[in-house]
Symmetry: C2
Subunit: 329 residues, 2 copies
């Protein structure tokens, strides 16, 4: 039976949405156990009796705050995230989910759980929506701000592995994010990465920012600085458009009536572009499984993050990555 | 009287929208002359008699195609863009507008017109919409894919100059695009640029991708690779949202009725986010004035690009930049 360690304390809204999300996941999946890590007296009252045999609580007296430096993480051995990750390291759990300090989660997962064979840098991957009925996996979106060409190459292999093993896409297309589609486009880093990625049969060449949303490839590779910019830019544009729609609707009573009738459309739309639906982002390349969730995660987002962790562990993606990197290196 | 050289041949749709846009500008401004550069027999028939004393045509038999390498530009001395830029270099025109090959325009403007004193790298600046009643100037969005910290510093000074001199914003706020707002965030390049930009009183620190659209700063500085990614990502998100709205509207007759009533709202919205409204992007840092327009420019976009050129020249931004860089370097 799969065991997931959940950092119950790290989120922006305290333990409630995290415990609630864990209960939703327990209801959905009959075949996993949750280990909630945090202050026992804050967690226990929320656990209904019927789940008591599938929930374990591991006491952790400390929490790493969102505004504390990630470098603290290794020293704070009583923190909920440190203890949750130790459970994976010591194989008492198969994976960890945290909505806490993402920098702390990343460095602890990388340093304590350790990297897979042949992986130099684990990367955070996230699924972006497109206007087709599919999503695009983008990595790295924040773990490595300065990358070497070899790192981008490894991200390509890990993205391919995730698409195949977890997303069950047997023929994924991998693109390299650049400032133009032509082979000659790119900066020093991406030009060098391009010539390495060429050796992957799944690699289709350079893609541009807009291609993330048109579904032309399944995996987009970039360094973690650029990945963060594109993620935040996307959120900013979507937010600005929704604010502009609201602002303009108020201007005319006729369009207000129209807007009321369109409510259903907007709800569908929100579901399709709302990243809280997707749960969390896996840190690919570490031993075991680490899912990084948004600090503002709702119970539903936590449930989806736990689902992701279960799929990740079942897929056996880690042996796939080690085998594939062995072959191509 | 201001003279603007217009590359009449470079756009994706041939000379028509460009000549038409020039005529719209001539109608709006009584005090400028247009020099249309291209094949005389394709341009002349479109010029009404009443404008004949304010329009000059300079013959150019060659056009640099969108798919040709920018390195061709310097050799192709009979091309419309080469000849248009020569008019500025020899001071027969004050500025140039081109919807042609943007790489060719950039290299010719930089190499033939030359750089301003103390400018190492001219940068392309573009105005991005926000949900407030203001816009954000972003530079560089494509001229320099590999930058040094000093280049980003100069972009900060040039952006400040454009905001002050052209946009008439006496107290612009300048931000550095990074992967987090904290001073310690960034990659090697932006961390080093941060410590240089610190000396500018207008510099307010790091900003994230979403801040471009919330109006929290007036100028956002980044390298040309990242700038291109953010531009294309923004276009991609806006396009995907509009496609998702259309797709979902079709699903229900009730929401179709609602959509009809909302048409006015969408039109307003389109105007606010449609980059064709803004004309073109200035290449800041060259002697004279060069405005780079989209290959798919409509007559209205060309008219707006010519307006931009006129404002640019009138503002005397170039002496401002030289003076300011002298002071801070």
């Amino acid at each position: 039976m799969i065991k997931i360690a959940v950092d119950a304390m790290g989120g922006d809204f305290g333990p409630y949405p995290i415990v609630e999300g864990t209960l939703l996941a327990l209801k959905e999946h009959k075949d996993f156990k949750a280990i909630l890590v945090g202050k026992k007296e804050k967690i226990l009252p929320h656990i209904p009796k019927k789940y008591s045999n599938r929930v374990e609580i591991v006491e952790a007296s400390d929490v790493i705050g969102m505004d504390e430096p990630a470098t603290e993480a290794l020293k704070r051995k009583e923190s909920s995230i440190y203890k949750a990750i130790e459970l994976v390291r010591t194989q008492q759990a198969d994976g960890v989910v945290s909505a806490g300090h993402s920098g702390a989660t990343m460095s602890l997962a990388t340093l304590r759980m350790g990297r897979l064979k042949n992986v130099s840098r684990p990367a955070i991957a996230t699924l972006m929506p497109t206007y087709k009925n599919k999503k695009t996996l983008v990595l790295d979106v924040g773990a490595n701000v300065d990358c070497k060409p070899e790192h981008l190459f490894e991200f390509g292999v890990m993205g391919e592995a995730y698409a195949r093993a977890v997303l069950k896409n047997s023929e994924p297309k991998v693109g390299l994010l650049s400032n133009g589609e032509e082979d000659t486009k790119g900066n020093e880093l991406t030009k060098a990465a391009f010539s390495l990625l060429r050796s992957l049969p799944t690699f289709t060449g350079n893609v541009e920012g807009n291609n993330i949303f048109d579904g032309s490839v399944d995996v987009v590779v970039c360094d973690g600085f650029t990945g963060n910019i594109l993620l935040k830019t996307s959120e900013g544009v979507a937010d600005a458009i929704s604010k502009l729609i609201k602002k303009n609707i108020k201007k005319s009573p006729v369009s207000m009536a129209g807007a009321l009738m369109m409510k259903k459309v907007f709800r569908m739309l929100k579901k399709e572009i709302d990243y809280s639906e997707y749960g969390g982002a896996p840190l690919i390349g570490v031993k075991g499984c680490a899912i990084i969730s948004h600090g503002k995660s709702t119970p539903k987002a936590i449930k989806n993050a736990i689902n992701q962790a279960i799929n990740y562990i079942r897929s056996d993606i880690n042996s796939y990555i080690e085998k594939r990197l062995e072959e191509v290196k």
